[in-house]
Structures are given as C-alpha cells and as structure tokens.
C-alpha cells in the first residue's frame, strides 16, 4: 500500500503543501537534468580531449627518452667495436668489453661470438645484484649460439637491437645489442629488461597516469609501478588493434576502461610502443565530482527549501485551519474570536471574514424574522386549505351518494322501461285473449239464443262448438304467451335483484334480456342478431351479465344508431378454448370519436349531456365485467363505420366477495 501511495498521486485534491513541494521538486529535478546534460555533452568531451592531448604528449616524450636510452648502448657498442678493430690482443679486447659492460647500467653481459657462433669471451658487471641467480660467466664460454636469431640475423657494419629472447647466458628473457666484428664474429651486449623498464620511473607524471612499454605482440615489457602481476602481462589484442601504430583510444584491460595513447619506440629490430593511459573513471572523476557536488548541493538545497516551505505552508495551513474553525463558529451562529494573523494577507482575510460574519448574522436575523412571518402565513393558508379540503371531501361524499342514487334510479328507470315493455308485450296476448273471450261470450250468447229459438240446427251447433274451441285455444295460447313473458320477466327480475351465483345457459340469458328490450328496439327499428353456439353453460352471475348485454345493446341503439332510421346489432359468441368465452357486440352505427374512445368507461362521461344520458352505463358495464364477471372488456370503433365491444369472460366466474 505504501509503495502504491509512493508511486501514484493521492486521491482527491492536493494540499497546498503538496502542490508547493511538487513544483519545487520539479524545478530541482529540471535543474539536475540540465546540469547532468551539460556534464554529459559539454564537460565529458572536453575532459576527454584534454586527456588525449596529455596522454599523447606524455607517450611521445617517454618514447623519445626511451629511444635515447636504447640508443646509448648502441652507440657505446659502436665505439667498442671501433676500439676492438684497432687492437688485437685478448687482454685488450677483454678490457674493452669490461669497460662497455660497466658503462651501461642495463648491461647484463657483454660477450663475443666467433664466426661459428661460439662464445669466445665474456664480461659481466662486477656485482650483478640485479640478477636473481648470479652465474659464473666463464661457464658460458664455448656456448654455441650459431642457431640464435641474433647471430643468424647479424649484418655487416650494422649495430642492431635484437627482439626479446630467452638468454642462455643469463637464463632470462632479454634483448641484446649486437655489432659485427671484423673476423665475422659478433659482439653482443645483453640488456636487462627490468632495467630498461625502470627508465620510465622518473618520467612518471603522477600516480593516476600509467605508462607501459609493450612489444609488438602486446607483451608488457615494462610497467611503471610493477603492476604486472595485477593484470594481464599481455595487452589485449583488441587494445593493440585500437591503438594501432600510434594514436588514442579507449581500451579495456581486465574490465577496466582506460584512456590510452601510444607512441612508437623504434630502435633497431625493436618495435616497442609506449602506452600512456589513465583509467576512464579517473579521467571523468572531476566531472563526476562536479556532478556529484551539484547533486548533493541540489539535494541539500531541496531539503532546505522543503523545510522552509513546510514551515511556511504549515503556518499558512494552520491559519487557514483557524479560519475554518471560525467558519464553523459562524455556522453555529457565533461571532468568532479575534485571531493573531502573522501574515498581512491572512489578517486581511480574517478582517473580511469578520465583517462578512457580521453581515451574515444581520442577514440571518432578518431572514429569521421573514421566516417567522412566512410561517404564520403558511399556517393560515394551510388552515384555509384544510377547510377547503374538508368541504371538498364533503362534496365528494355527497357526489358518491348521488352517484349511487343515480345508479339506483338508472336501474329503476331501466326496470320501468322493462316493465313498460313487458306490459306492452303482455298486453297483446291479454288483448287477444280478452277479444277472443268477448267474442266467445258473444258466440255463447248467440248459441243460447239459437238454442232458445227453434231453428236449432245441428250444423249451427257444430259451428258454434268449433268456434268456441277455436276461441278457447286462442285464449289458451295468448295466456300461455303472457305467462311465458311473465316468467321471463320474473327470472330477469330475480337475477337482477338477487344476484345469485348459479349455472345458466348463455344463449337463454341473451334471449331473455333481448326479449325485454324488444319493445324499445322495434320502436327504434333496430334488429338484433345473435350468433351463439347452443348450450354455452356458464357459472356465475346471470343478472350482471344480462345487465351488461342490455346496456351494450341499448348503447348501440341509443348512440350508434341515434341519427339513423334503424340498424342491426350483432352479438357473436365464441368459445375460447375450454374455459373462456368471447362475446362481441357490434353495430354499424356512427362510431365513437377517437377523443372520446379513451374515456367512455369513465363514470359520468356522456355524449348526451342534458339529453337524458347519465354517463354511467358503460362505467357500470366496466365495473360488472372486470369485477363481478372477472373478465375484461375492450372497445374498437371507427367513426362512420361502427363500434365493437369485446368481452372476454371466464366460463366460471369466481365467487364474489359479498362484503
């Protein structure tokens, strides 16, 4: 978690302290980057160039002085050769050789080879303390060196320097200066490599710079401080290639990188090179110190600035914290205490805050006053509203009561109409019966008169009897029809009023209710056609269903065919599977306007306001269908085409909750 916090910006807003420190850190880092870039691209190259120059000069100087040091034995040998040519006696030549070996510091031995390459005379320094194992020079007399490189390569009149070889005289690797003798022999002076190497000691330019002398194979011949054992005795071939015959390069020796320059030492067959080099790390050290110093200074500066800024921002933050507390005090409605602000801006802010507090408090007091007045007014209004509400509720109750009464009176009106229809219906058979009965009476009187008379004919009596029979039959039929009507009416009335749940046949219920409407319908020249399958048995509330049918048919007659001289209403019954039935009541009347269509089931919605419509018919239908019959009702209508009411009812209506 800590680590994540370290690398990611904190959630939310930064504090003043954070913002300030970020900027300081950014500036410091930029400064650091700038100084590093300057070091990398300016200082380092300059230092490199300087070092190369120094190395080159030094290598050149060392090479020249080394050459001189090497030339000296050669000139001495040359001089000795001249002396030997003049003399001849063995003692003379021995003394010349001794002088020669004494005159050269590095000389390890001087010996003379005859023309067969055999050692015929030898001189060594009196004290050869530099040699590890002092050897008896005379034991080397007679040694055959005819196969040696120096003997085979010797040339007339030429003093030369041999390559390095392992000396049979000293048993050590060595170089030799050779010069031809007049008798085809050879004068040889072997030189100590160690002593040659020591030549460079006094030219040492300081501890950090190293001077090496290497042969053409890269073998280190001399090393300024005897570091030989600390690293390869061979300069890596890569370094030799880089340095070439002379020049500067960065070479790697045993993983250490050096700035090196080389200069050639060419004396005789010797092809040596002086290499002056300085560790890259040391070359760059001053620049690295500057960078380090800059970095440390920057770091210290950073710490210093951060401390100061922390103090300052903390004081500032504390002051702001105080002001925050003042704000809390103000929030609690108190005038905050005076604070000792040590910064002008903060003091100004404090003063402004204080005056703002005063203003705020005044304003708050005014607000409170206003609030109180407002509250009183609100209360007043509320009371008024409550009164109005109560009045409205009262009106609503009355309205509901009126609605119930209206429904009741609607029902009564319907019943009235029905009674009128029934009376009319019954009237016809009853009239017929009465007419017939009076005709029967009249016939009976005629019969009696005939019987009382004398002209009684059998045919006449027969005729009378036939007439009586016919009349009685007519009366019987009329009465039966009246009885049927009454029965229907009674059934409908019972259904309507008792609302018992029972099993009934849908077709019968439709027929009964239509019969009760027949008077009105025929008056309006509206025919009703029923397409219903036989024996659709339902369990439910036939009164409610009858009322629904009646209302819908009436509706079609009253509204659909209001402006037409007559029409047809179709009732289609269709079973929907085992448990449901669909009843469609369709007319081809004027239709319902679209705007009204959505509202036709609303109570008190009527298109015939003031013309006797209560606006409750379809509302009652909706209520009966959805509640008592547990079904649904839908209406489709198009103006000028007609209207279809579709009832979707279960065959078994659930028992009604009487409560």
């Amino acid at each position: 978690m800590r680590l994540r916090a370290f690398f990611s910006w904190q959630q939310g807003l930064p504090t003043l302290h954070q913002v300030v420190l970020r900027w300081v850190a950014l500036v410091v880092v930029l400064q650091l980057v700038f100084s590093l870039a300057v070091a990398r691209y300016q200082l380092f190259p300059q230092v490199e160039a300087l070092q190369i120059k120094l190395n080159e000069t030094l290598a050149h100087n060392i090479a020249r002085s080394s050459e001189q040091a090497l030339v000296r034995p050669m000139t001495a040998l040359q001089a000795a050769l001249k002396q030997l040519e003049q003399g001849g006696a063995q003692a003379w030549s021995a003394s010349v050789m001794q002088q020669l070996v004494d005159s050269i510091d590095a000389a390890e031995s001087v010996y003379m080879l005859d023309r067969f390459g055999r050692v015929v005379a030898i001189s060594v320094p009196p004290t050869s303390e530099q040699s590890n194992a002092p050897y008896a020079a005379d034991k080397r007399l007679g040694l055959d060196l005819s196969r040696s490189e120096m003997f085979r390569s010797s040339q007339k009149n030429r003093v030369r320097m041999s390559p390095i070889f392992l000396s049979a005289v000293s048993d050590r690797p060595t170089v030799a200066v050779t010069g031809p003798l007049s008798d085809e022999g050879l004068l040889v002076m072997e030189l100590s490599l160690n002593r040659l190497g020591q030549l460079r000691d006094d030219t040492a330019p300081g501890q950090e710079v190293q001077a090496l002398v290497v042969d053409s194979n890269g073998q280190i011949m001399a090393d300024q401080y005897g570091h030989k054992a600390q690293r390869s005795a061979m300069l890596p071939i890569e370094a030799m290639r880089q340095l070439g015959k002379g020049g500067a390069a960065v070479i790697t020796i045993d993983d250490v990188r050096w700035f090196a320059s080389s200069a050639r030492i060419a004396v005789g067959a010797l092809d040596w090179r002086v290499i002056v080099m300085r560790p890259e790390a040391l070359v760059y050290a001053p620049v690295r110190h500057i960078v380090l110093a800059t970095t440390i200074t920057t770091g210290l500066f950073l710490v210093f600035v951060v401390s100061l800024l922390t103090l300052t921002t903390r004081r500032f933050t504390r002051a702001i914290e105080g002001l925050r507390h003042d704000a809390f005090a103000l929030e609690a409605g108190r005038i905050p205490a005076t604070r000792d602000m040590r910064l002008q801006e903060l003091a100004d802010l404090d003063a402004s805050l204080r005056s703002m507090a005063q203003a705020l408090l005044q304003r708050e007091a005014a607000l409170i006053q206003n609030n109180e007045a407002l509250e009183a007014r609100v209360q007043e209004r509320t009371q008024h509203l409550m009164q109005v509400n109560a009045d409205l509720e009262h009106a609503m109750r009355q309205l509901r009561h009126t609605q119930t009464e209206l429904v009741q009176s609607g029902k009564m009106a319907a019943l009235g109409a029905m009674v009128a229809g029934v009376a009319h219906e019954i009237n016809t058979p009853l009239g017929n019966a009465r007419l017939t009965s009076s005709s029967l009476v009249h016939r009976a009187q005629q019969l009696r008169q005939v019987m009382e008379g004398d002209k009684v004919s059998r045919a006449h009596i027969h005729q009378c009897a036939a007439d009586l029979e016919e009349g009685a039959a007519l009366i019987d039929r009329s009465l039966e029809r009246a009885g049927n009507l009454v029965h229907s009416f009674k059934q409908v009335a019972v259904d309507q009023t008792s609302n018992r749940r029972r099993v009934f046949v849908l077709g019968e219920i439709i027929a009964e209710n239509l019969m009760l409407l027949s008077q009105r319908l025929s008056k309006a020249h509206v025919k009703v056609r029923v397409n219903a399958p036989d024996k659709v048995e339902m369990l439910g509330y036939p009164g409610d269903l009858g009322q629904v049918i009646t209302n819908l048919v009436e509706n079609a007659q009253v509204h659909g065919y209001a402006d037409s001289p007559g029409g047809e209403v179709t009732i289609d019954v269709a079973l929907q599977g085992q448990a449901r039935v669909r009843i469609q009541v369709r007319d081809r009347g004027r239709g319902i306007p679209k705007a009204s269509l959505e509202r036709i089931f609303d109570p008190f919605f009527t298109s015939r306001l003031g013309q006797g419509g209560s606006g409750l018919g379809l509302s009652i239908v909706f209520g009966l269908v959805t509640q008592s019959l547990a079904g649904s009702i839908a209406v489709e209508s198009q103006e000028g085409v007609g209207t279809v009411f579709t009832l979707d009812l279960p065959l078994h209506a659930p028992e009604r909750n009487e409560s």
Binding site: L21, R22, A25, D144, L145, A168, M234, P236, D254, D255
Partner: protein
C-alpha cells in the same frame, strides 16, 4: 509524510534519468586465470603456453565471446617457485576466475593442485604431465598425456627402433615431479627391454649448475646414449658440453625440452637429438594450418608444443563454459564432453580429466624438429 512520498517519486524519476544518461555497460568479462613460468629459465615454455591460451581466448572473443561475454586472461608468473604459484592461485581466486590454464611445469602442478582442489578452482594444465597427478578425481585436468607414458614410449623407441643398448640419464630436480616420473618410466622400460642404464645424474637447474662437469660425468659413464630430462636451455647447454667431449655421442631428450629454444641455444650440438613430439609441425591439414596461421599473425613466430597444448587446454575450458553457465559445474561439464577437437589431433579426457594424446618421435635436422619413424 505524504508530500515526501511525492518527492520520492520525483527522486526515483531523477535516478532513472541519471542512470539512462550514464548508459549501461557491456556484459562483464569472464575471467580465466593463467599460471606459468613467464620469467626465468623455463619461460620459453611458460610464454608459449600463455600465447597458446591467449590465442584461443582471442579467437573466441573475435567470435563474440561465450554467450556474449568476452573472456580475459589474467596472467601470473610462478617464477618456477611454489610460493609464487600459490600466491598466484590465491590472487586468481580473489579475482574470481572461472578456471586457470596452467601451470606449465609438473612440480608447480604438484604443489598447487591440492590447494586448487581445496578451493574448487579448476586447473587445466597444458604441459604438466607428471604421473603423480594422474588418475585423481581432483580439480586438475590437462591437455597432455602422462609423462610416464611418454618416458616408456621413448625407451621403447630408443631400444627397438634405434637399437640403443646403454644410456645415461640426467634429471633436473627443479622440475622433479616431471623428470622423475619420465626418467623412472624410461629407466624401467629401458631395462625391461634389455638396455642398461649406466648412470642417472641429477642437478638443479635453478642453482647455477656446472654443465661441463655434468657432461663429463655423463660421458664418463661409458653409455652409448645420453638422455636429458631437463628444460630446453639446460638440455641445449648439456648437449653442447657432451658433444664437445664426445662428438659422436647419441643424444636424446624428454619432450619438455623440445621447444624452438633448444635449437636456438643448442646450435650444432643438438643436431640428431631425438625427442618425443606432441604434435606434427609439418601437418598440412586445414585445421592445423588455420591454427598455425592465426598464431603466426598474432605472435610473428611459429608455435611450439607448449602453445599448441595450451591452445587445446584453453579450448577445453571454453567448450566447458559454452556448455554450462555455472562456473561450479565447469569441471563436470568438461568431463562430460570427453572428446575435444584439438588444434591438430582430437584428444580424449577420461573421468579424471587426464587425456590421451598421440605421440611420435622426431629428431633435430638442419635446425628444425623433423619427423622420424
């Protein structure tokens, strides 16, 4: 603390930047040590082994090193002294070398092999052939055969091919571990084959020996053949002294001396002197010619047996390094490889890291080691 964490983020970024500016260096070099006689009397062999090993390493570096890491050879001169060699071993251990090529002489090998085994620092000796280190499961491997084997082979050759009947031996005690095992094997085999060892002379080359006196003793023994078991310088000097006393004396020497230095220092005296040869200087095979050319270009001279054996030794180490990344597994890795190409002939390492290498005999003819049959 939180704000300081933010500063920490900046400092980390700055650190990354500094590191990026400084750049990242190349892979560090793999260090291989070298111990050999680079100064003194035996330095011809030491220098030759150093050159051979260096050439092998430089050739590998030219090809990109081992797994991208260059090799460096850290050289130490044992000055033919056990103390110096042990100091060198310690120094190389501290320099964390993965293996050491060397030493070049048997006595030094006997002195430092147990210490190297203790330190688990692998020595691969190019020319130290002493029997005293044969058949040991230690940290001492080599690219040359057993000196006793060479001694017996020489005796066999001298008796059966050349009909030598009697011999006088001279052994250099400065490298007794080689000279004794070579000389003993030679004497035993020589006598087994019916030859007679007339005298065995011993001297210490580092103590300024009197070669003329030694030669007088050898010639005085009445042997028809003188066998020098010594370095090139001493063998050359002895040969000169013997020939001066008895020009017709039959001369032979142990392989140690068969360097180019012997011919240079021996002059006419070593003409006809017979040695066992570890390689064929007149081999025309491309493999050897490649090695020869590379060596000539690098060192402006022809390689001797020391250079060739050291080249092979270094290549054994290189092959091992290429097979394993773990320096501690180097020995097992080398032994697992078993067969090595060699600059001339393949060589086979056994479970103890001792190798079998072909040998033949050659005498000096007109200043070169000629092949004889």
């Amino acid at each position: 603390m939180k704000p300081f964490l933010r500063i920490g983020t900046f400092l980390v970024l700055a650190g990354v930047l500094v590191w990026a500016l400084a750049g990242c260096g190349p892979k560090p070099a793999l260090k291989i040590g070298f111990i050999g006689g680079l100064s003194g009397k035996f330095s011809d062999l030491g220098t030759a082994t150093r050159n051979g090993a260096l050439l092998a390493i430089e050739l590998v570096n030219d090809r990109g090193g081992v797994r991208g890491r260059p090799l460096v050879l850290l050289e130490h001169d044992d000055m033919q002294s056990n103390e110096q060699a042990l100091l060198a071993l310690q120094a190389l251990k501290e320099q964390s070398v993965v293996a050491i090529i060397g030493p070049s002489t048997s006595s030094i090998a006997v002195a430092i092999a147990p210490v190297a085994t203790d330190k688990q620092l692998l020595l691969v000796a190019p020319t130290a052939s002493t029997s005293r280190l044969s058949g040991k499961d230690d940290y001492f491997l080599r690219s040359i055969g057993d000196s006793a084997f060479y001694g017996r082979a020489a005796a066999h050759y001298h008796v059966s091919k050349q009909g030598v009947r009697s011999a006088a031996l001279i052994l250099d005690m400065a490298n007794a571990d080689y000279t004794e095992s070579w000389g003993d094997a030679y004497a035993q085999e020589f006598q087994r084959l019916g030859g007679k060892v007339m005298r065995v002379e011993r001297f210490t080359s580092t103590q300024n020996p009197d070669h003329a006196a030694l030669a007088r003793s050898l010639v005085g023994s009445g042997a028809e053949s003188v066998v020098t078991v010594a370095s090139s310088v001493d063998s050359a000097l002895l040969a000169q002294r013997v020939k001066a006393l008895k020009p017709g004396m039959r001369l032979a020497g142990a392989g140690w001396a068969s360097t180019e230095r012997l011919i240079e220092l021996g002059g006419a005296a070593v003409e006809g002197m017979l040695f066992e040869q570890y390689f064929d200087r007149f081999d025309a095979s491309p493999k050897y010619q490649n090695f020869l050319q590379a060596y000539r270009v690098r060192f402006k001279a022809d390689p001797g047996f020391g250079a060739l054996l050291a080249f092979d030794a270094a290549n054994m180490v290189i092959a091992g390094l290429q097979a394993t990344e773990q320096p501690s597994q180097l020995k097992a890795s080398i032994l697992a490889i078993g067969k090595f190409e060699g600059a001339q002939n393949p060589l086979y390492a056994d479970a103890y890291g001792d190798v079998v290498r072909a040998v033949h005999f050659g005498a000096v003819r007109n200043g070169v080691f000629a092949k004889s049959d």
